[in-house]
Symmetry: C2
Subunit: 372 residues, 2 copies
């Protein structure tokens, strides 16, 4: 079976690496002019002239990023199965639509308001009570197009800094930690849930994901499963879906979802019986889902900006290196390291030992390293 992937970055690369052993082949469709998958066929098509050519070379279509024109996905879906469905793109590209869907399905979110001017941003901040987070309603990711307002007086400055005509303004959530759940839904409606991960961000970029999340309570995992199952079923979704959440004193609050394999699921390559990448390919191809159980404890450490001393990391007997073969650039995701351990204590020690070889890695902080 030939799988067409919209986008040609590291996620597509890892989908392909997981898909070849299932006898899939890959054609990437790149609209950026800068593909990095490094595998399979790549069609570079900035102007959308070769979509038919792409279609003729594939049996099924999926995507590795959600910032692609919905019309493209819809046009493709008329000819070949496109998984996940274009509707998932529509929802994920628009935070207002996403939050509205969350609300309809009973998934808690931070209180939010829409702002379409500096004045309405100020009013929203006043109504919600600062601090608030203002985010461009569309096109934002990895912390871009966002600002935190500590008081309504910062509205003018924040509005100018974000530079977007429509913002969503969210009341700041007092959370214990950031977590995510990754689920996969098959064509026949079967659903499987990975154990949740605890995520640590730094400068808006994910740095560490620990899975299963330390001290994860069964009722919290089940709450997350209920939410993501509702989303999967509502959208008649096929493939991997990620839901980012805040864990608070009062339970989970949804932040956002991603209709794809996700950085907070990279630990599954060695840390779960079946990786998120393999499960996405299984689902998209119409195969049964694979076992999502964890194999021991994992922490994913992102390699950001520069590669550091990779050969020192390769010497660590508990580290698995995954490079994306990309050039160094500040803030760029160049790869990740999966650290395995049998206890969380050992995991902390090992992660710190690894991180020392990655310059610019922030100090490892997690619920394991802070008293709470």
């Amino acid at each position: 079976m030939r799988i067409g992937v919209l986008g040609a970055g590291q996620l597509g690369r890892m989908l392909a690496l997981a898909g070849y052993p299932l006898a899939k082949t890959f054609v990437f469709y790149d609209m950026s002019g800068n593909p990095s998958a490094g595998l399979g066929e790549v069609i570079i098509d900035r102007d959308g002239n070769y979509l038919d050519d792409f279609l003729s070379r594939v049996d099924r279509v999926t995507y590795e990023f959600e910032h692609l024109p919905v019309e493209v996905a819809e046009r493709l879906a008329k000819e070949k199965p496109v998984h996940p469905c274009p509707r998932a793109l529509q929802v994920c590209q628009n935070r207002e639509r996403e939050k509205t869907l969350f609300g309809e399905l009973g998934i808690p979110t931070p209180q939010w308001k829409i702002a379409d001017s500096a004045e309405s941003l100020k009013s929203a901040a006043e109504a919600l009570g600062c601090p608030v987070v203002a985010k461009s309603n569309t096109e934002g990711y990895d912390g871009k197009g966002q600002a935190v307002l500590k008081s309504p007086e910062e509205a003018q400055e924040a509005w100018a800094a974000i530079g977007h005509p429509r913002l969503i303004v969210e009341k700041f959530v007092q959370f214990k930690r950031e977590v995510s759940i990754i689920a996969v839904r098959a064509e026949d409606g079967d659903v499987a849930f990975y154990p949740m991960a605890e995520n640590t961000h730094h400068e808006g970029i994910l740095r560490y994901s620990i899975a299963p999340a330390p001290g994860l309570r069964k009722d919290i995992q089940e709450e997350a499963e209920r939410y993501i199952r509702a989303l999967l079923n509502e959208m008649d979704y096929v493939g991997v879906l990620t839901l980012e959440l805040f864990e608070t004193e009062d339970g989970l609050v949804a932040n956002e979802m991603a209709p794809r394999v996700h950085n907070s699921g990279h630990w599954t390559i060695e840390g779960a019986m079946t990786s998120q990448f393999e499960n996405h390919i299984r689902a998209v191809s119409g195969h049964p889902l694979g076992n999502v159980e964890a194999r021991g404890l994992s922490c994913m450490v992102n390699i950001i900006g520069e590669h550091g001393e990779i050969d020192r990391i390769l010497e660590l007997p508990y580290a698995h290196v995954h490079l994306y073969n990309k050039g160094e650039r500040p803030g760029r995701k160049l790869g990740h390291v999966n650290i395995l351990a049998d206890s969380y204590e050992e995991l902390v020690w090992r992660v710190r030992n690894c991180a020392q070889f990655l310059p610019g890695s922030p100090e490892f902080r997690s619920s394991l390293t802070t008293k709470g």
Copy 2:
């Protein structure tokens, strides 16, 4: 780093799948006209006209099969590092040379003699005592070019059936089981040994490999490590080397070696901390070696001739499917399934459960299923 691989079959494919995450890229050089790697660039060159082109596209060279002209490897080695060394090819292509080296290094072998006629085959069978195994001295693999003689009178027929001008005749070894050890040696001489596997053949083709081998005694593992270390150091070898052995009442007896990743090491993909494929790429690229420890217990089940009910196998929560994307043909290796378990009892049950979906799979037999 660009790795050139001589040969473009499933072993090259799995080397590439392990090498991409280490930021390697792959160029395959195929002399068969029938490449199946399905990844990377492939140069098809039956007449040896494009060796320079191949060389210009790679930084280092390795190979996935030992039946390639030594002159080709030697010519390449003048320009770029070739690992393992061409001498390993020379030894492995000639059973007499291989057995002689084993003898020089104190590695026990079956008693053997050379035969270059039906008459000398008969004399050899008489001198060694039947049963004996006669094998073409060169070019044989996967049980091809072999015959068992139950009495010297069968010499004429066996000579004709094998149809090779020079045979090696080996006294039949009374063995408890067939085993193999896989080791890897780095450029700096560092060596690591995987736990031995127990192998079951059927019609000359490997069917099952269990690792770590059940009931493996520490002294037997160490004996095998001593033998393979001697080979690695003698040849100043870089990369993965496999040594197939018989386990007898009196210890180990070497059968043959393969200067490459090996079918009896496919279990390492999920069953070891670092796969044989990754370790070969690490060694060939000059990186430190990865951890060779087992992760639980594994059994590799080969998919031979036809694919069977792959979707049923994909449903098994303990099975990992690895397909080579090749067409069905009797006796052809099409893929393998790695079965994981925490106990050997569970492993036997799971392997049998999996094998029922693979038509033509021989009944699972191993030291675990026979009384001894």
